[in-house]
């Protein structure tokens, strides 16, 4: 059975070669065969998806040209989609139904996309393995004993297993790019301010950004161009012109200055990842780019900065979950115990850990030493990147420090888990666009990813370089073993 990509599906539906309904039926049939092993979804909304597909077919028949006609999507459970729950894989939001589509879902719907299901995630997007979901652990289609990465692990696994041509995730410190790399798919985090967060449940508001997961760079460019751009409902969105990501794909890298991140090449780097970087250097050189090394010195302290800033913002954002306006309520004894019991029962251990860490960093007596210092260091990191981009057009580094780990391997050691995001957090802190492209399979058959970072609002250069790299890799087109 075919499992077409985003661009191909939309082209087929637009040309009348297939209907949106048949595209969704194909997706549901693939899900029915392999979802039991992968468990990418919290809920499959097949009936609703088919109803939406019928609307798309009617629109096509009426003469509309839709950039995403009949494209079935897996959407992370922290995004509002009309008629579906959005629980952030948390017990505290069990049963929550948003009042309608968020901006991203509305733009996708207008473009003809169909919502196949709610993708699993780490609770409130806090994690790097999808093991922190309050529902279940999603498995990596390349090896069912391993995690899919996180926090958008359900979306990444659904795309890797070819249940859907595309998925959406949110990226706060790497939650799109890290699972994409672990699952052998493309994951793109736009510049902070490019995509509206209206209808995205907030984790860390100075970092959160929505982006696509797909099997090709071209598919990511298509999904991104549909969702990007100013939205009056999110004041942090930029009015800058979005550019032409799809046109940029064919631009190539001839004459482009590509800087490999010096700080990524540390002692003790996984040999498979080091070899992957060498191959990437050769691919870019062969494609005509001028390859150099650049230094972003504060990338070394990015994880330290991130866990202060993100946790501080999370502790503030998650204060709203108190059993008054949404979710189950745990006590009616008095107001204080209503808050405390609801939060204590509703949040899982990792969310509590981040709330405690954030509350500590913002508490009187510690604020200056932790939150203040982290904010200043974050500015220095951004300055480092600005300097680096004076000499290069894009920066390249690995997406993940090692291939996907085994389920349960890091659950007792939060700090080691946090270090899984060491290569993705720098771009998040500086608000830069960054994409992870599948690069190779290790000897054990596990995917690795190479990351391309651009200057703020430099999406076109990122897509041009990513496409050139993708064309030069020999990442297999074969199905992952678990779903073959």
């Amino acid at each position: 059975m075919s499992s077409l990509g985003v661009v191909e599906t939309a082209a087929d539906v637009a040309a009348g070669r297939r209907t949106a309904v048949s595209a969704v039926e194909d997706a549901l049939s693939r899900v029915s065969r392999h979802e039991e092993q992968v468990r990418a979804f919290l809920e499959i909304t097949g009936e609703q998806a088919l109803a939406e597909a019928r609307v798309v077919d009617a629109r096509v028949k009426a003469g509309e040209t839709l950039p995403l006609g009949g494209v079935a999507l897996a959407v992370k459970d922290n995004m509002w989609v009309e008629g579906r729950q959005a629980t952030c894989a948390s017990k505290i939001l069990e049963g929550f139904r948003p009042p309608g589509d968020g901006t991203v879902a509305a733009r996708l719907r207008k473009a003809g996309a169909v919502f196949l299901g709610r993708a699993n995630m780490d609770e409130f997007a806090m994690g790097s393995s999808t093991e922190n979901s309050s529902s279940h652990v999603t498995r990596n289609p390349w090896d069912l004993e391993r995690v899919p990465g996180g926090s958008s692990g359900g979306s990444a696994a659904a795309v890797a297993a070819r249940f859907v041509p595309g998925g959406f995730g949110s990226d706060t410190g790497g939650s799109i790019r890290q699972p994409a790399a672990c699952c052998g798919v493309v994951g793109f985090k736009p510049t902070y301010g490019r995509v509206s967060r209206y209808g995205l449940v907030a984790f860390a508001s100075s970092l959160d950004q929505i982006g696509p997961l797909t099997r090709s760079v071209a598919d990511a460019a298509r999904l991104y161009s549909v969702i990007a751009g100013r939205d009056p409902m999110d004041s942090t969105t930029s009015a800058r012109v979005v550019g032409s990501p799809e046109t940029a794909l064919s631009r190539g890298v001839s004459g482009m200055r590509i800087g490999f991140l010096q700080e990524a090449e540390v002692e003790g780097l996984d040999p498979a990842v080091a070899a992957d970087l060498d191959r990437a250097r050769a691919i870019f050189r062969d494609a005509g780019a001028s390859v150099t090394t650049v230094s972003v010195p504060r990338a070394r302290v990015a994880i330290a900065i991130y866990y202060v800033v993100a946790s501080a913002e999370a502790s503030s954002n998650l204060a709203r979950f108190d059993g008054v306006r949404y979710g189950p309520r745990a006590s009616e004894a008095d107001l204080a115990s209503l808050y405390v019991a609801t939060r204590t029962e509703g949040f899982g251990p990792e969310v509590k850990r981040r709330i405690l860490l954030g509350t500590f960093a913002l508490a009187s007596g510690y604020y200056e030493a932790y939150y203040g210092a982290a904010m200043r260091a974050r500015q220095l990191l951004s300055d480092d990147f600005s300097r680096a981009f004076q000499g290069v057009d894009v920066i390249v580094c690995p997406s993940i420090p090692a291939p996907a780990f085994r389920v349960g391997e890091k659950t007792d050691d939060p700090l080691t888990m946090y270090l899984s995001d060491i290569f993705t957090v720098p771009a998040s802190l500086a608000g830069l666009p960054a994409i992870s492209v599948p690069s190779a399979l290790t000897a054990e058959g596990l995917p690795l990813g190479i990351q391309v970072l651009g200057p703020r609002f430099g999406e076109d250069a990122v897509f041009a370089a990513a496409r050139a790299f993708e064309a030069g890799t020999e990442f297999p087109d074969a199905l992952p073993p678990a779903v073959a």
Binding site: G95, F96, R97, P99, G100, G193, P232, S235, T236, S238, R298, V301, I303, A304, I305, Y307, V308, S315, A319, D322, G323, V324, R325, Y326, G327, R329, E332, A333, D334, L335, A336, L338, Y339, V340, A341, R343, T344, F347, K352, R353, I355, L356, L357, T359, F360, A363, Y366, A369, Y370, A373, A374, R376, A377, Q379, L380, S382, D383, P414, L415, Y418
Partner: protein, 102 residues
């Protein structure tokens, strides 16, 4: 990687109270151990010299939304998820008067 001396079970108890979370007394040492290790790692930020912090903020200003009314989701949608409702308002336990806690 060193543990931070800033974290001990007493600090964790106080922070949990501020965060409206209840942690069982017997679990406090475990929470303190984990958080001390994380904060110990974060302490490397203290090694960045103070004079390095002179750079000006470069964030773009956030534009404000035009102050014009637009249709919203309506009152019904806003309260639809509340666990307890009365006459369109969310209900919480009594906070003032007899039986209340002030």
């Amino acid at each position: 990687m060193s543990s931070s001396s800033a974290i001990n079970p007493e600090v964790v108890r106080k922070v949990a109270e501020l965060a409206r979370l209840s942690l069982p007394e017997e679990d406090l040492p475990r929470w303190a151990g984990q958080l001390a290790r994380i904060v110990g790692y974060i302490d490397q930020l203290k090694q960045i010299p103070e004079e390095a912090f002179a750079s000006p903020a470069s964030a773009e200003a956030t534009p404000v939304r035009q102050d014009v009314p637009v249709p919203g989701h309506g009152e019904e949608a806003l309260v639809a998820n509340a666990p307890r409702l009365s006459h369109g308002f969310g209900v919480v336990p009594r906070v003032v008067g007899p039986g209340g806690q002030g």
